[in-house]
């Protein structure tokens, strides 16, 4: 077996040193009833055979890049520079672990410090952690952090929040005893959430651009929340939008969470992704997850360590701020490399291209006779379809077009079966958009 270095001779020698007659003697503590388990699974296989089997499975899928493609709704297809994937496959990044021994993990630690600085700059907040699993779990953690900060039990989720994020937050924060008030799905809820904020509210969770693509200035919501002693959590599922739109911090957010997949990470059928988590500095001791901080070594040289670990499970156990242990290190590295290449200027231009493509898309969809429901958008729009959006997506698949995400797939109970979510990025071409428009016009009988 190519991954196992020991030879039969090695094993015999080692058993001799141990003083055991055979390897079974090392499993003597296993109860007799559980020994001799049989497994109906195939035997080992060579690299070529395994690669062939995996390639056969991959061939049964239609890659997003195989034709016109318009899915967004929390995951976005962007171009990732080749150098990003090269660097993250370096042994020293790929095959290292959490930097428990900082003297021999300065590479990872400096990357995390740079990542935290980049996330703070994107979100317009002072401190960011070393990443969470993804945007949705970061959202749930933000709500629970608001509970710790305010010692209140109620969270209000705005109607534009991605339904998966709302479900994850309901699942996790509710289990811990919080009351989660989820407002009905609404394409442009504006400031309507303000009326629901009371002096029991720990936080309000607002997404911008929201799941329908609507760009919102949440400043008024921030003021209203703060007036009642509540925190504002701002969610972003498309990190590239941070290059163009007012930052959560600028609009008064206390905590900002985002899905970082868009920068540096492939779609990967939903994971692994990377959750971004930032907050006001005064809240740092209630933050979940790992934090990297600057310090000096015994010779006074600058270096980095994991810090404020008295918040964490391995020290605090049941009193920890979260149970999170591993984060999303390699995805955070990919994010950080891509953002280092882009810089603020490149990110701005990338964001403008995304927005420009979406304007082109919106115009084409209108030209095909469909109503665009999103008043102000970044790179994603909601459109009204003549019949159920899911049926339209199925029909357009026959034309070779993956025509976005029916909202009903995310929230079947919302009564928005005729709403289709369409995203465009820098990878979307004018030809893709023209093909979609032509197919839409044909399918809707115009």
């Amino acid at each position: 077996m190519r991954y196992l270095p020991l030879t039969p001779d090695d094993r015999a020698r080692m058993l001799g040193v141990i003083g055991a007659p055979d390897v079974d003697a090392l499993f003597v503590d296993v109860p007799a009833a559980a020994r001799g388990a049989a497994f109906d699974l195939p035997p080992h296989a060579g690299e070529m055979e395994v690669e062939r089997a995996l390639a056969a499975l991959a061939a049964k899928n239609r890659a997003a890049g195989a034709g016109p493609f318009f899915c967004g709704a929390g995951a976005y297809r962007h171009h990732v520079p080749a150098s990003v994937d090269h660097i993250i496959q370096r042994s020293e990044f790929l095959t290292s672990y959490t930097p428990y021994q900082p003297e021999i993990a300065q590479g990872t630690l400096q990357v995390l410090f740079e990542f935290q600085t980049q996330v703070a700059a994107l979100t317009g907040l002072e401190v960011a952690n070393a990443s969470m699993y993804d945007g949705s779990t970061a959202c749930a953690e933000a709500v629970m952090m608001a509970q710790r900060v305010t010692r209140r039990e109620k969270a209000i989720l705005c109607g534009g929040l991605h339904p998966h994020y709302a479900q994850v937050t309901q699942t996790i924060a509710h289990a811990e005893g919080m009351e989660i008030v989820r407002q009905p799905a609404a394409i442009d809820p504006g400031d309507t959430v303000i009326a629901a904020i009371d002096d029991q509210t720990a936080c309000v969770v607002v997404q911008t651009p929201n799941v329908f693509g609507v760009v919102t200035d949440v400043s008024k919501i921030a003021e209203a929340a703060h007036a009642k002693g509540a925190l504002l959590v701002v969610v972003t599922t498309e990190a590239v939008s941070c290059g163009l739109l007012k930052s959560p911090g600028e609009m008064g957010a206390d905590i900002a969470v985002a899905e970082g997949q868009s920068i540096g990470n492939a779609l990967n059928f939903g994971g692994p992704y990377v959750g971004l988590f930032a907050a006001r500095e005064k809240l740092v001791r209630q933050m979940p997850g790992r934090l990297c901080g600057e310090t000096v070594d015994a010779e006074g040289r600058r270096g980095y360590v994991l810090t404020l670990s008295t918040r964490e499970q391995h020290i605090r156990r049941e009193k920890a701020t979260s149970n999170i242990c591993t984060n999303s290190g390699l995805c955070a590295l990919a994010f950080s490399i891509h953002l280092s290449l882009l810089g603020g200027a490149g990110l701005r231009r990338l964001a403008l291209i995304n927005h420009s493509r979406a304007r082109e898309l919106a115009d084409a969809v209108k030209g095909a006779g469909l109503e665009v429901l999103t008043p102000r958008f970044f790179n994603e729009i909601a459109v009204r379809t003549p019949g159920p959006a899911a049926a339209l997506v199925d029909a357009l698949l026959a034309d070779g077009i993956v025509a976005g995400v029916p909202f009903s797939r995310l929230d079947p109970a919302a009564g928005l079966d005729d709403v289709l979510l369409l995203a465009a990025t820098e990878t979307t071409t004018s030809e893709d958009i023209a093909a979609l428009a032509a197919a839409l016009a044909r399918r809707s009988g115009r």
């Binding site: 020991l6 410090f113 401190v127």
Partner: protein
């Protein structure tokens, strides 16, 4: 001094003199470059990505637009240099043994990386129509089949994104099952004192209170204490097996029986599954739920701290409460059940957006196919053999915490043997760095004084194991010979000396700021 014709020293003693030379003038250390932060090297307003001019402006977003984000950009060559220089300051499995107990730092096969990057997996959107992702769903279904078969459990929830996330998933299933049975008064989780910190943290995270179970002198769960603490308020026990002392819980079936008799569920922390994979089915032991760290047993890369993946296998009793989504195999192919409804209405909710760590599923499945049933059994046997070999070789010099009987996949030592030397477990660990090894897990489990938990994994050769043991024996001899200075100063050969963690925590500096702002 012997010189060759170009004036270079040729003899080791001469080389040693050269090594003692003073530090370089610029802070560089040979191949180890002193690398500033990306924010300290210029590049403001620059970008390393060539992008076309956008066709449209953003006039329609007037009033919603920010100033350009203040971040520097690097060209591709500058980027490569920056990260390659940083990478050289990291230890890695590919460099040497990485014996972090409980972390299972095994070799990461590169075929798995290649497979995960196939466009048919990496370039798939989670919300594409099911008809376009049949291969991906089939892979998830096959992975689930392997996990269920290897554990002897009837169901698995694939979506949890890491071990602790899997624990959360398992406890949420248990909570939902109790509530459905009118047993919502069960609010306590019993956890051994030796447990990972994530166990009590997870229990508290779902609103349970935590009570500790005592440990016997031979490093196992104290059955009498467990029996005394089980009662109508107990929702579950969380027991790691093999446990964090590296020992198989001999009474595991009795533990399960006692828990079930008291109406509690048995959550098994599967962090140490590598010791028994392909040999023992947790389902045969009475487990109700167990997470499997794909980044440990099934070798998906640790990546400097994630991403992991933590699928949870479930018993019949808990399966109906598994979170959405799951894969359904039907006559027309595979579908994803994403919205709990109808028969699936008991699902407790959702763990994350989308379907879990697909990139890790591909890698883990490739690993399983490569090893097969026979290879996985060999994995467990070699992992256990390697740990026992280390235990046997070091036991003369170090003090094993539990000398009697074999260990499983990790060997645990205490610091009794360091008494009187002036050297602590921390000092010893730091001296290992100078010898070229990553230290073992230190001061965990908490039940053993000055614990040193060594997990070699099955992917170490006998030669590397011997090199490791020789190094530790030499260090042990130095410690006992009174060379405490070496240990107190260590590491001296690493990219950094010991770092001031107290300073970092007292005045947290968590992001770079321009000089003017920091004052």
């Amino acid at each position: 001094m012997t010189m060759n014709t170009v004036g270079r020293p040729t003899r080791p003693d001469a080389a040693a003199e050269a090594a003692a030379a003073p530090a370089s003038l610029t802070g560089g250390r040979g191949l180890l470059q002193d690398e500033p932060l990306i924010f300290e090297r210029g590049g403001w307003g620059k970008t390393g990505v060539d992008l076309p001019a956008p066709a449209h402006d953003a006039a329609d977003l007037a009033g919603f637009v920010r100033d350009e984000v203040a971040l520097p950009g690097l060209s591709e060559p500058e980027t490569l240099r920056h990260y390659v220089r940083l990478s050289q300051k990291n230890h890695a499995i590919d460099l040497a043994l990485y014996p972090l107990g409980s972390c299972t730092m095994k070799h990461n096969p590169r075929l798995n990386e290649k497979a995960a990057r196939m466009a048919g997996f990496a370039d798939l959107h989670p919300l594409q129509p099911a008809a376009t992702v049949q291969g991906a769903l089939e892979l998830m279904d096959r992975l689930a089949h392997w996990l269920k078969t290897l554990t002897g459990m009837p169901a698995v929830a694939l979506s949890p994104k890491a071990g602790a996330h899997g624990e959360l998933c398992g406890l949420l299933c248990i909570k939902a099952a109790h509530e459905a049975a009118g047993q919502g008064q069960r609010r306590t989780v019993l956890v051994p004192t030796s447990a990972h910190g994530t166990n009590p943290a997870t229990a508290a995270f779902v609103g349970y209170s935590v009570a500790e179970i005592a440990q016997t002198d031979d490093g196992r769960v104290d059955l009498a204490d467990l029996a005394a603490k089980l009662g109508p308020d107990v929702a579950a026990i969380m027991v790691t097996n093999p446990n964090t002392c590296g020992l198989f819980e001999r009474d595991i079936m009795e533990i399960a029986r006692l828990a079930h008799e008291a109406g509690a569920y048995f959550y098994c922390d599967g962090a140490n599954f590598n010791a028994i994979v392909g040999r023992v089915k947790p389902g045969d032991l009475g487990v109700d739920a167990m997470h499997i760290n794909l980044h440990k047993t099934f070798s998906t890369p640790h990546g400097g701290g994630g991403p992991g993946a933590g699928p949870v296998v479930l018993s019949e009793a808990l399966a109906p409460f598994a979170p959405a989504p799951w894969v359904v195999a039907g006559a027309d192919g595979f579908q994803l059940a994403e919205q709990p409804a109808g028969e699936a209405a008991q699902a407790f909710g959702r763990m994350c957006a989308f379907h879990g760590q697909m990139g890790m599923f591909v890698r883990a499945y490739a690993y399983m196919l490569s090893h097969g049933a026979d290879g996985l059994r060999q994995v467990a046997e070699d992992a256990v053999l390697n740990a026992n070999y280390i235990k046997a070789r070091l036991s003369g010099a170090l003090t094993p915490a539990f000398p009697d009987g074999p260990c499983m996949h990790e060997a645990l030592f205490d610091d009794a043997w360091l008494e009187g030397t002036g050297v602590t477990t921390l000092d010893f660990a730091k001296a290992m760095i100078d010898e070229g090894f990553h230290p073992m897990t230190m001061y965990f489990p908490l039940v053993v004084h000055g614990a040193m938990l060594i997990e070699p994994t099955e992917t170490e050769s006998l030669r590397e194991l011997d090199r490791f043991c020789d190094a530790l024996l030499a260090l042990a001899q130095a410690a006992k010979a009174g060379d405490a200075e070496r240990f107190k100063a260590a590491p001296v050969l690493a990219p950094m000396r010991r770092l001031d963690e107290t300073l970092a925590a007292r005045k947290p500096k968590l992001a770079w700021r321009p000089e003017a702002e920091t004052g």
